[in-house]
């Protein structure tokens, strides 16, 4: 346990110091991937621990991302002016639901609350009917598709296919400034570290035990006098909030949020990061996110058409040969014969 704490401390130190030694391009990638990892941790919680496979985390990612992007567009447009894309679409006044996002405080709250409430509501409606497993995964997938289609169709309000982009500064700091970029990297890293520690505590609590128990035998848990519903709803809401925070940070980092970043394919990619790293392990989720995304960057620049095949193959190999992912393989080397912690099935 002590050695583990030391190892985490070391990794954190290496990441904090990254701006000192990493080249600018790699550093900007690292910052973005660490932001992705926050969403991945949420998936590890709901899928790896609680057995709920969501193929629609992009929806919550988008809620966080768009909440921030709306604020940035309004701040950039100046008082009384409409955001540029609305003018191009011929809109003459701001939709009422854009109005609250002028306030930085409301925006900040919305980044946490919108995805959290949406996720809780979805989980409540679906799990109350005792829908689970593959059916749940399909519902979330359909939701991701519907959300992306909706955003594209409402171009005058949402920026449509192009999304929201062209931000100049955030809360008064110029986005292109290198100091802002550096601060953003550390804020991302700090958020990830706090999330990681928080989830570790959560998993060690009785709540974590119950989540595992519910995955193992939901009915058994019910017949031990527990109502599984609030446990699942709370876990799903936490994962939703984490996806939203991730979306906001990535939007800042890339300077854009668009349907291409949260639809069906990106939602599935998030699950692949976690599967590759090891879904039952928090560090696996972070590791998998970094591994797959750096791999994507490398493969895409060397062989532009190959990436989807590579990631598909990686996913198939992990699911069939190493259900506990990279972390499981590493554990298997250290303690042969004890590597089978995660059941090979994707959804229970």
């Amino acid at each position: 346990m002590r050695g583990q704490g030391l190892a985490y401390g070391l990794i954190l130190a290496v990441l904090i110091a990254a701006p000192l030694y990493a080249p600018p391009y790699e550093l900007s990638l690292l910052g973005r991937f660490l932001a992705f990892a926050i969403a991945a941790l949420g998936i590890s919680l709901i899928w790896g621990t609680a057995g709920m496979l969501s193929l629609g985390q992009g929806v919550f990612f988008a809620l966080g991302g768009y909440a921030l992007a709306m604020h940035l567009k309004l701040a950039g447009a100046g008082a009384g002016e409409l955001p540029d894309f609305m003018q191009w679409s011929g809109l003459d006044h701001l939709p009422w639901w854009w109005e609250p996002f002028r306030s930085p405080v409301v925006t900040f709250a919305a980044i946490l609350l919108l995805p959290g409430i949406a996720a809780a509501l979805l989980a409540f409606l679906v799990f109350r009917r005792r829908v689970s497993g593959a059916y749940f995964a399909i519902i979330t997938q359909a939701l991701a598709l519907a959300a992306a289609t909706f955003v594209i169709s409402q171009q005058q309000f949402t920026g449509g296919f192009n999304g929201l982009t062209g931000f100049s500064d955030v809360f008064g700091f110029a986005l292109t400034d290198s100091h802002t970029q550096l601060a953003l990297y550390w804020i991302t890293l700090g958020t990830l570290a706090v999330t990681f520690a928080g989830l570790r505590w959560l998993l060690s609590s009785r709540f974590g035990t119950l989540l595992l128990a519910i995955r193992d035998g939901e009915n058994r848990v019910r017949f031990l006098g527990y109502n599984p519903l609030p446990f699942k709803v709370l876990a799903f809401a936490i994962a939703g909030i984490l996806a939203g925070v991730s979306g906001a940070l990535v939007t800042l980092d890339l300077g854009v949020i668009s349907p291409a970043m949260f639809g069906v394919v990106p939602s599935i990619e998030m699950v692949i990061w976690v599967a590759v790293g090891g879904r039952a392990s928090l560090i696996g989720a972070v590791l998998g996110t970094l591994l797959v995304n750096f791999g994507k960057d490398w493969v895409s620049s060397a062989f532009p058409d190959l990436w989807l095949y590579v990631v598909g193959l990686a996913f198939i190999l992990v699911v069939t040969l190493a259900p506990s992912g990279v972390v499981g393989i590493a554990k298997g080397w250290r303690r042969p014969g004890l590597s089978r912690r995660t059941p090979p099935v994707l959804v229970e």
Partner: protein
């Protein structure tokens, strides 16, 4: 009758016209032990399913401590003080032996109260006591999946006992156990009688004899006979049912 712990009041459970329980009535006092036997399909498991809320009565009602529980959600029925061991061992495989018992022993089962790593002294004591009783103290850290079949049965019995419910329903607790293990199980039930009431289903007459409790025989969803093990052994109607002959009269 008012002091009854459990009253099954004219309960009918029918599946597409097939009556698994047919106008069935049954009552038991706090702390008492009852054994249910009967051929396959007699309605024994259906009776336990109906009490615990897994199956809802088509007609009639289940009254527990004076409250009609027929329509309560399963987890509420359990919270009222009934816990069941299922026929196929229902332990939580990925959890350690100790965590299995702890989950069952937790009194406050609300989700927001689980956001803690703290265990109260009384819960810890209860877990220790149960682990001792079922003889799995030394294996507390093992995942339940790694236990032998008999040990899994014991663990689930331990979980049901740990829940400290007033009524414990045991569906074939000795299935797959060695003779010695079955003896110990019967002794455990005898020693806990009084503190808990039990309904035990089993087929093995040796085991039933060791429990030394009143026996009820179910057949086709109805009560065929009630009495001591000896009464049942010499009852011609019971013999006829078990030998597969037609019963002239019930």
């Amino acid at each position: 009758m008012s002091a009854a712990l459990l009253e099954v009041d004219h309960v009918t459970v029918s599946y597409d016209g097939f009556k698994a329980l047919d106008d069935f009535s049954f009552a038991m006092q706090p702390g008492s032990v009852h054994v249910l036997i009967g051929p396959n399909g007699a309605g024994k498991s259906t009776l336990l399913d109906t009490i615990i809320g897994r199956v809802r009565p088509t007609q009639g009602r289940i009254v527990f401590k004076g409250e009609n529980i027929s329509a309560l959600p399963e987890f509420r029925i359990v919270q009222r003080g009934i816990c069941r061991k299922f026929q196929t061992p229902g332990v939580l495989d990925e959890l350690s032996v100790e965590a299995n018992v702890l989950v069952a022993a937790t009194r406050d089962r609300r989700s927001w109260r689980s956001l803690t790593t703290h265990r109260s002294q009384s819960e810890r004591d209860r877990v220790e006591e149960v682990l001792d009783t079922i003889g799995l103290s030394a294996k507390r850290a093992l995942p339940a999946a790694q236990l032998a079949h008999g040990e899994r049965q014991w663990l689930e019995i331990g979980m049901v006992v740990a829940s400290d419910s007033d009524l414990l329903l045991l569906d074939e607790p000795a299935a797959g156990m060695t003779h010695r293990e079955a003896e110990l199980t019967a002794a455990l039930i005898r020693s806990l009688a009084g503190r808990h009431a039990f309904i035990v289903i089993d087929h093995d007459m040796d085991f039933v004899e060791q429990i030394a409790a009143p026996v009820s025989v179910l057949h086709m969803g109805r009560m065929l006979a009630q009495g001591t093990v000896e009464d049942i052994r010499i009852n011609p109607a019971v013999a006829a049912v078990y030998l597969g002959r037609a019963v002239q009269s019930v």
